[in-house]
Symmetry: C2
Subunit: 203 residues, 2 copies
């Protein structure tokens, strides 16, 4: 099994690395150089026609892309510790939290990065006003999540899960782009300190 | 078990109804009236703090939101016919296809609807140029998917899955907003005819 990933700060390859660290797994990662455009080269497009990372290549040749799908596959092979839930209800709720983070928090960060950040301005046509409007959506998403987090340690309840991995990489990437956690989101700030203290956060 | 949904053309409640039809399941659906703002009322916010539909309320009181998470839960209770895959690899690849459809096809449709459609213009601040730019992203996404579909009947392979449900509701909602399947995407057009011929498409 081989993992095609990339160095920080790309949030998706980091998610898989954090997941592997939480599981105590070691899968060799080939660092695809995004700045050199290696992800758009024919060799990588044969693994993922969208030219994205991460992609997991199995020994029999099948390639699995999409961060959460890769982690979901690895969870089935290595169920302990469970990061996607132990029961049908837990699995549904953790899946719900991952999706809420992706649609409410990650999408505004992605749109800000894509349409308002100077580093992408050189490469792509931007709609700057739209891009800037995502600052407010990101802050609003985190304030909503802050209320949801009241009284619990982790996004989906008492245990650290893939939903925490999804949020930590998103918030850290957002900070890299210049988007900060709102001052008043005290539960998110405390959660961020807890999540960052785990060894997997270094991945 | 009760399902809070809504009438056509809202694509997410329809996805759950198509899933139930494919499974031969009957769960009572309470139609929340989005035009009257019933999804933002306190009673529904108690089920889903984001004020979205669909939400599945279990008899013991737990509420599961997010279309795919609801379907994933129902798949565990009623595994036949399998719509999320039978093996770990199948489940990972079907999950990958759902995500690709959401990020490559559904996101542009949602952004077009949100930022360029006259029906939402009355309700929300739009970034119209950005919204219009999603026509091209939608067409590009379908052309990519058209190449991927060559030689197979369904999105994830030989069997109809949740990925087909995700795409059918997206493409039909896109048509409602004025976005059409590109003329040259012959594989997508043939797939659309096949998917629409299934009784579940009437849901």
């Amino acid at each position: 099994m081989k993992l095609y990933g990339e160095a920080m700060p790309a949030p998706n390859p980091r998610r898989v690395r954090m997941f592997l660290a939480e599981k105590g797994l070691d899968i060799p990662e080939i660092r695809v150089n995004l700045r050199k455009g290696e992800h758009k080269a024919p060799e990588h497009r044969a693994r993922n026609s969208l030219g994205q990372v991460p992609t997991l290549e199995l020994d029999e040749g099948t390639c699995i892309s999409e961060t959460i799908s890769i982690c979901r596959y690895l969870e089935e092979l290595h169920p302990e510790p469970p990061l996607f839930g132990r029961t049908a209800i837990e699995r549904a709720l953790i899946d719900m939290w991952v999706r809420r983070i992706e649609f409410q928090i990650m999408t505004p960060v992605g749109m800000f990065w894509r349409h308002a950040h100077p580093l992408t301005a050189a490469l792509l046509t931007q709609y700057k006003d739209f891009g800037e409007s995502n600052r407010e959506l990101y802050a609003r998403g985190l304030k909503w999540l802050d209320r949801e987090l009241a009284g619990r340690d982790w996004i989906a309840g008492d245990s650290y899960t893939i939903a925490d991995i999804a949020l930590l990489s998103t918030v850290d990437f957002a900070a890299f782009t210049g988007l900060v956690i709102p001052e008043e989101a005290a539960n998110i700030r405390a959660w961020h300190t807890r999540a960052t203290a785990r060894p997997s956060a270094q991945a």
